[in-house]
Subunit: 80 residues, 2 copies
């Protein structure tokens, strides 16, 4: 079982990495890009037989406390 | 229209960030974690009316040349 967490900067937060990549894409001739947002992707392998609901709760908690900064970042958790 | 790119280190590549997060999760009492892989997540906003097939091709190219390091990273591209 795997948990996938996508952490992105909140819309109101300046994302210098995203701005830089947007400019780089334009310079390289890729047109039609109106915005770039850069975040983190975390994949957690869970031991087989882990209870899905309990894992969801524990990882949501960990994502909030350890993996993301809830002041400036949003996260999305998916368990499959 | 949005392009979503997930960049992860290849399985054979040492992922010190992932190892650190795994240890931190164990120390915080989250058991059952057998592995953690940390990658990047890039969301690209495309101008409305962009041709999906052309965008797919251009962004795949950009992901290979600019956004990822194909020697040590894999990427997955999704356009929606």
């Amino acid at each position: 079982m795997k948990a996938k967490i996508i952490i992105t900067p909140k819309k109101a937060v300046v994302d210098p990495q995203g701005i830089t990549v947007k400019k780089a894409l334009e310079h390289m001739g890729y047109s039609g890009v109106t915005g770039v947002h850069i975040g983190k992707y975390i994949e957690i392998d869970l031991a087989p037989g882990t209870d899905k609901a309990a894992a969801q709760k524990a990882i949501d908690d960990a994502a909030h406390k350890l993996l993301s900064n809830p002041i400036i970042e949003d996260y999305k958790l998916e368990i499959e």
